[in-house]
């Protein structure tokens, strides 16, 4: 049983790290701030979500697991809002913000 749980964790966390790498590649290669913002807030959030999913079976208690889910939900909220705010600032000032 614990082998299955470990395998699940490894697969989920591995996928999460893959999305973190994808986000960074996007950050390096995209041409302008708005698309870089997308790479950052969408790919990294998905990566974090998969990492949280992989860590859920290993948490110490139900409260810990709920906190992990709350952490991911809050990071989603923060990422979406930060993307809106920074994007608006970029558009107002032009790309030379």
């Amino acid at each position: 049983m614990s082998l299955v749980v470990d395998l699940f964790s490894v697969v989920a966390i591995g996928a999460g790290v893959f999305f973190f790498l994808a986000g960074t590649v996007g950050l390096l290669r995209f041409p302008d701030p708005l698309s870089r913002l997308h790479a950052l807030t969408k790919a990294d959030n998905l990566g974090l979500g998969l990492v949280v999913l992989g860590l859920l079976p290993r948490s110490e208690s139900l409260l810990s697991a709920l906190k992990l889910i709350a952490i991911w939900a809050l990071v989603q909220l923060a990422g979406a809002t930060a993307a809106q705010l920074v994007g608006r600032a970029v558009r107002r000032k032009g790309t030379a913000a």
Binding site: L37, L40, V86, A89
Partner: protein
């Protein structure tokens, strides 16, 4: 398993480092502001993995605090940059 968790935390920190190199020097303030967002998300990921590997207790609260405050830098930037501007037509007002 512990080594795997630590290795993935290391990879995430490496991606954060590479991203920081690119956007801390990037043209314009909006790029630099994204550095705070990058370290917030990547830092929480690395934090959770490291704490699962080393067995430190109570680290979810630290990650919860970081997640709550992740957007504060962007909010402060927008707040101080545009004090009393005309309503944006894109807001539908």
């Amino acid at each position: 398993m512990t080594e795997f968790l630590l290795a993935t935390a290391g990879v995430i920190l490496f991606t954060v480092a590479v991203g920081l190199v690119r956007i801390l020097g990037g043209p314009g303030d909006a790029d630099r502001l994204m550095a705070a967002q990058l370290i917030g998300t990547g830092g929480i990921g690395a934090l959770l993995l490291i704490s699962a590997a080393t067995g430190a207790h109570g680290v979810e609260d630290v990650a919860l605090g970081l997640a709550l405050l992740a957007a504060f830098a962007s909010a402060a930037f927008v707040n101080s940059a545009a004090p009393a501007e005309a309503p944006d037509p894109a807001d539908g007002r």
